[in-house]
């Protein structure tokens, strides 16, 4: 996969939805994208490009809640990230479970630990706790005090 050509192709298909593209090194690329286009881009990666979904990392930063969806291009060894930034208040994004069952657990985990809502998730029950934490307890948020 030619990086330059690949980045241009994605940019031309998603035009103004792509906020930023970062090439960390020849095998690691991050696309920062408008959250509304997340499922669209993920679908291109999974069904057209045959990328594999590795996992998603949820972060709580000054910008708000950031999620990096990591995809692997196993043919050439790339790790391609799709990066979305969600607001501090009521963070929500579309669920990827419609595209693959493998996203089900990690979305449940991020919902539980960071309080991000995943719209359209079929089974949003806690993954780690029994669901008996006090309301509004999200341990991986930076303002969490134990």
């Amino acid at each position: 996969m030619e990086n330059k050509q690949f980045i241009e192709e994605i940019k031309s298909r998603f035009t103004d939805k792509i906020v930023e593209v970062t090439e960390h090194n020849p095998l690691r690329i991050t696309f920062t994208i408008d959250p509304a286009s997340l499922t669209g881009l993920a679908e291109v990666f999974l069904s057209e490009k045959d990328f594999r979904f590795i996992i998603a990392s949820g972060l709580h930063t000054k910008k708000g809640f950031e999620i990096l969806y990591h995809f692997s291009n196993d043919k050439d060894g790339h790790v391609i990230n799709v990066h979305v930034v969600l607001p501090h208040e009521k963070p929500a994004v579309d669920s990827l479970t419609k595209l693959l069952s493998g996203a089900e657990w990690i979305e449940r985990e991020m919902h539980e630990l960071l309080g991000i809502e995943f719209k359209g998730h079929p089974n949003m029950v806690p993954l780690i706790s029994e669901g008996n934490w006090p309301e509004g307890t999200y341990p991986y948020r930076k303002d969490f005090k134990s």
Partner: protein, 398 residues
């Protein structure tokens, strides 16, 4: 009222590494659905890592898994070295690969033994674990520890493998190769093992892609993914070896892939030792002064599949965020596909086929009638159930 009964497997036991609770919904002998609960032993390691320095994180992540204890430091080192653009000495690359492959050998032997036990072949169990011991002894010779070897650090490894130890390593590998022949022969040629494992717990290629499964679980369904080949790290692109795949997707294919992978691991170690002979002793680490701000996505192929570490740094000496994904996280979710439609006696081996650090779970498994709450089967009985099926088959076939 539904005739469904729930058979709970789990949740937890002090010796178990991955406490999990599986509920098998059964109609008579058949499993119709499976559900699970996790998090019984959530240790908050991702959060803990943020409080520690990079050097300390190695010791922390080494304790995520007791069996494949080096795979997490491996992936973490890859991600940090990616952020810093750090090149490690060749000798360190070979040492890293040797440690990774020795670990694969003992982990696969452990699985083969357990699979044998589940099927009622305790001879296979005793053989496999007996042959595993010398591998652990090699670890002790190399690192001083049979487990949790503390070999990795940023920029290389902590200890050299001195030339004087090569002869012993080679000797043990030669013996292990012969024993693997014996073990492979015993598993591959036995008609009863065929009957118990072929077409059992089948995962199709599509299932693997849908659940994003990795490692031998994926390779046994014909999905040829292996981080060592796809995104080479350490010395894996400097030695000659093959990715083992099998298209069938059943338990037998998973056993076959693991057994044949052991030969590849031995090949990798032997070649690494030969190449190391030409390199000067002692050059095992690059001096690293600082880790800049950035993100690193490091992965490594553990015995059970890809381990993935995402690290975000801010120029200080600790990670700002450290996300870890172990292979069982994605592989265990595939039980929805592999167990449903099986009989109870095949469920134990189907669950064990993905090697979910399952070694102690069965001791806690107890079957209750969901309507009356009366105990039906204990964990031991569940395994005896599986073993009895093998005995029946033996009587019919032999």
């Amino acid at each position: 009222m539904s005739k469904q009964k729930i058979i709970p497997i789990g949740p937890y036991h002090p010796l178990q590494e991955e406490p999990e609770y599986f509920k098998l919904y059964c109609e008579g002998e058949n499993v119709v659905d499976v559900e699970w609960e996790t998090g019984y032993n959530h240790r908050g390691i991702e959060k803990l890592a943020e409080e520690k320095t990079f050097e300390q994180v190695f010791f922390l992540v080494e304790r995520i898994c007791g069996i494949c204890s080096t795979s997490h430091p491996f992936a973490f080192a890859n991600s940090i070295e990616e952020i810093g653009g750090i090149e490690i000495p060749y000798r360190a690359k070979y040492i890293r690969s040797i440690i990774g492959e020795l670990e694969r050998l003992h982990s696969h032997l452990l699985w083969v033994g357990l699979a044998g036990h589940f099927l009622g072949y305790d001879t296979v169990f005793m053989w496999a674990w007996k042959y595993r011991e010398p591998v652990l002894d090699l670890f002790e010779i190399i690192s001083g520890n049979r487990n949790s070897y503390a070999m990795f650090k940023i920029g290389g490894v902590r200890r050299d493998i001195e030339q004087a130890k090569f002869a012993k390593i080679r000797q043990e590998l030669d013996i292990l190769k012969k024993k693997t022949d014996l073990l492979t022969g015993a598993v591959m040629d036995d008609p009863v093992i065929h009957a118990r494992t072929k077409n059992v717990g089948v995962m199709t290629r599509e299932d693997i892609i849908d659940y994003a499964a990795v490692g031998p679980t994926a390779r046994a369904s014909g999905v040829a993914i292996d981080v060592r080949k796809d995104d080479p790290y350490a010395a894996y692109d400097m030695v000659d070896w093959n990715v083992i795949t099998s298209p069938e997707g059943d338990v037998f294919a998973k056993a076959k892939v693991r057994l044949l992978e052991m030969y590849e691991s031995i090949k990798i170690i032997e070649q690494s030792l030969t190449k190391m002979e030409k390199l000067p002793e002692g050059e095992i680490a690059t001096k690293v002064w600082e880790i800049p701000e950035g993100i690193g996505m490091g992965h490594a192929e553990a015995p059970r599949g890809e381990v993935f570490h995402f690290v975000k740094t801010d120029g200080s000496n600790s990670p700002v965020r450290h996300k870890i994904r172990a292979p069982s996280y994605v592989n265990i979710a595939t039980f929805k596909k592999s167990c449903v439609g099986q009989t109870i006696s095949d469920a134990a081996i189907s669950l064990a086929a993905v090697d979910p650090c399952y070694c102690c779970t069965e001791r806690m498994a107890v079957a209750y009638d969901s309507n009356t709450g009366k105990r039906i089967l204990s964990g031991d009985e569940l395994i005896k159930h599986s073993q009895a099926k093998t005995r029946e088959l033996k009587k019919q076939m032999l």
